[in-house]
Amino acid sequence: MTREEKSGRLGGAFLLIGVLLLLFGSYLGLAVAPRERFMGDVQRIMYVHVPTAWNAMLCLTAAFVFAVAYLWKGGWRWDCRLEGALEVGVLLSGLLCVQGSIWARPTWGVWWDWDPRLTTTAVMFFAFLGIIALRSFVDDPAQRATWAAVATIVAYVDVPIVYFSVRWWNSLHQMQSSPATVSPAFYLPLRTNAFGMLFVMAGFITLRARLARRRLAAQLAPPPALTRAAS
């Protein structure tokens, strides 16, 4: 089995496990977990919103690690992984903002509030979206990889700020949840969905990195005329 086939199967397996866990977690969250006393059924969005938040930050942390690894060690595989992690991280950050708005409307009365957590999350989304745009504006693969890695390291400074924003400033958004602050009845669906989202994220990064490797191989391949002349 070639490395390409292996990564394809691994990505597919991650996705399958992730989707199954998400389905099970969503069943638990929608049908088994009790109704929250103050927010009612609206609170059930927590079972996707919180796992999306955790995994968005985890994914962008992975992008940061891949960026550092590319600059430190070199190697196209780190750039391909960086491309995958950036796109999945931006997708999850976008979903996070949308889910947050849907939850905010019935509970806070507005779709959006200029609260530190929401503002820093929006900044994180746009900062990394800009890096995806940067990749599309640079033709040379080596320059694209280096610049994207540099921009990722610079933009990553916002990710810890997003995490700690609810502690550092007076925020409308609640503090980070922990086993001490969440009722035991809410654990299982929350954790099942968190692991489901983690596997989906890993699957998408693996498959997206595989696609990036194929594109890069086509880009770095010699032109057909040279190939014919060599043979």
Partner: protein
Amino acid sequence: MLSAALRKEALLQWRGLARTLAVLAFGGTALLLFSFAGGPDSGALREQAPGYLWLALLLSSTLALSESFDGEQEQRALEGLLLLPAPAAVLFYGKALANLLQLAALGSGLLPMAVVLYDMPLPRPWTLLGILVLGSAGLAAPGTLYAALSARARARQTLLPLLLFPLVVPVLVACVKATSLSVTGDPMGQLRSWTLLLVCFNAVYWPLCGLLFDRVVES
């Protein structure tokens, strides 16, 4: 070495003074347009003046920064500079300091326009000058790194603000709040915390951008 790099940048900026004046005129036009968007209520305009001032400086900064590597792009001058027996970080800090001075000068030029157009009071001019320098430093460090990067990419006029604006949101928020507090008064003593945020931002981004600059220019 840093002083030589700074001298070179200062000389380039002095020779390109007409360009700096054009950027200042752009900032002034932006200030004028903001007053139309805000409406004729002079009280509301005075209240929002710090925000308009910093937005005008932010918009002007993209014009100033995007052209800061034009000289190095011509006839592959950057490659010649990299061959000099000096670390690339020296080039970065020379360029970033020159950009800081240019942005602070632009801000100092826009400030009287904001005072005239919005009737903005200036009870603590030295504090405001300090905020202006700290805010310009916050824009200059990541702005110089991204200008070096976007100078060689396609659609650089789009790319620079796209990369820079989300990154400098903390600078914009802190500068607007600090300016507002220094203009309208600070009964709760909040100015210190916003200034501290600016200092922290600069303490993170000046070394980080200097460290990464050589990877950008040598690729």
